[in-house]
C-alpha cells in the first residue's frame, strides 16, 4: 500500500507543484488516490486552489481591494 499511496507530506508537496508544472500521469494518479481517502489533503488542495484564484483576481486588477473587479468603464 505504501508504494501506491503518497503520505500527506508528499501529497501536500504535489498539490503545490501541480500549480507550477504539469504532473506526470503516475503522480496525478497517486495524488488522486490519496485525495480520495484523505480529508486533510482535500482541504489543503481546496486552500491552494482558493489562493490561486485569489491571486489571479489580484493579477487582473490589483485594486480589488477598493472596488468589485472588472466592471466596464462608464463613460
Amino acid at each position: 500500500m505504501q508504494f501506491f499511496l503518497y503520505s500527506c507530506k508528499q501529497a501536500h508537496r504535489m498539490i503545490s507543484e501541480g500549480l507550477d508544472r504539469p504532473l506526470r500521469l503516475s503522480e496525478r494518479a497517486r495524488l488522486k488516490m490519496h485525495l480520495s481517502i484523505c480529508n486533510a489533503c482535500t482541504n489543503f488542495n481546496g486552500q491552494m486552489q482558493f489562493l490561486r484564484k485569489a491571486m489571479h483576481r489580484v493579477s487582473q486588477d490589483p485594486d480589488s481591494t477598493n472596488q468589485p473587479p472588472a466592471k466596464p468603464e462608464q463613460r
Binding site: 500527506c8 507530506k9 501536500h12 486533510a40 486552500q47 489562493l51 493579477s59 490589483p62 481591494t65 472588472a70
Partner: protein
C-alpha cells in the same frame, strides 16, 4: 469677390466650432489623468511587493502611467482602465527585475534556511499534525474587498525574496521555466520556494481572515 477661404470670419467660425471638441478632448485627458493618479498608490504597493526597492517601484509605476498618457487612444475598448494599466505595469516591472538582477543578484537561499516550516506540519510518519480547515467556495469571499486587504497584508509579510518569486509566478503569471531563467534557479529549488510561500500565505489567511487556530 473674395472666396470663402480668404475671409477671416470663416476661420473664426471654424475656431469657435472646434472649441467644444478641444474642450471635450482636454476634459477627457484631465479625467484620465485623475483616474491614473488615483491608481498610483495601489500600483506602487504591488510594484514594491515585486521589486522590494522604492526607486525601482516608483520608476516602474511612473513609466506605466506615462505610457498610458502618451497613447490614451490605445486604451479604447479595454474592459477596465486598471486592468489595462496593470498589464503595462507588469512589462515595466519585468524590465526593472532584469535591471535589478544585474545590480543585485537574487539569492533565495538567504530567506529560508529553515525547513521546519514544512516539517512542522507533519508528524514522523508523514501525516498532517492538524487538520487543514475548509475554506469553502472562493467566489463569495472573492467578492469581499476586505479579503483582498488581508491578502495584501499577508503578501507584505512574506520574506522579501520569497515574495518576489511568488509574485513573479502568481501576479506576473510567468511560468516556472521563465522564472528559473530570470533568477538562475533550478526547477526544484523554485517549487520549494513557491511551496513555502503558499504555506505561509495559507497560515496568514487562516489566522487573519478565516479566523482559525
Amino acid at each position: 469677390m473674395k472666396g470663402l477661404f480668404d475671409r477671416p470670419e470663416f476661420y473664426r467660425i471654424i475656431a469657435l466650432l472646434l472649441v467644444p471638441i478641444h474642450f471635450e478632448f482636454m476634459t477627457s485627458l484631465i479625467d484620465l489623468h485623475q483616474q491614473l493618479e488615483s491608481m498610483r498608490p495601489v500600483l506602487l504597493r504591488f510594484a514594491f511587493l515585486q521589486l522590494r526597492n522604492d526607486n525601482a517601484a516608483e520608476d516602474a509605476v511612473q513609466e506605466a502611467l506615462l505610457a498610458v498618457l502618451e497613447k490614451p487612444d490605445s486604451f479604447a475598448g479595454q474592459s477596465s482602465l486598471r486592468t489595462y494599466v496593470t498589464g503595462i505595469l507588469k512589462y515595466k516591472i519585468i524590465d526593472h527585475l532584469r535591471r535589478l538582477k544585474r545590480e543585485v543578484p537574487l539569492d533565495t537561499t538567504a530567506d529560508e534556511s529553515e525547513t521546519d516550516l514544512i516539517d512542522s506540519l507533519f508528524n514522523t510518519n508523514g501525516h498532517t499534525v492538524s487538520m487543514p480547515s475548509a475554506w469553502g467556495e472562493p467566489e463569495p469571499t472573492l467578492q469581499e474587498k476586505d479579503f483582498f486587504r488581508v491578502l495584501e497584508m499577508c503578501l507584505e509579510n512574506l520574506p522579501p525574496k520569497t515574495a518576489r518569486v511568488f509574485m513573479m509566478r502568481e501576479w506576473l503569471e510567468l511560468d516556472a521555466e521563465e522564472i528559473c531563467k530570470e533568477l538562475g534557479l533550478t526547477a526544484s529549488n523554485l517549487w520549494v520556494v513557491l511551496y513555502r510561500a503558499r504555506l505561509r500565505l495559507r497560515e496568514c489567511l487562516d489566522l487573519n481572515w478565516f479566523g482559525n487556530h
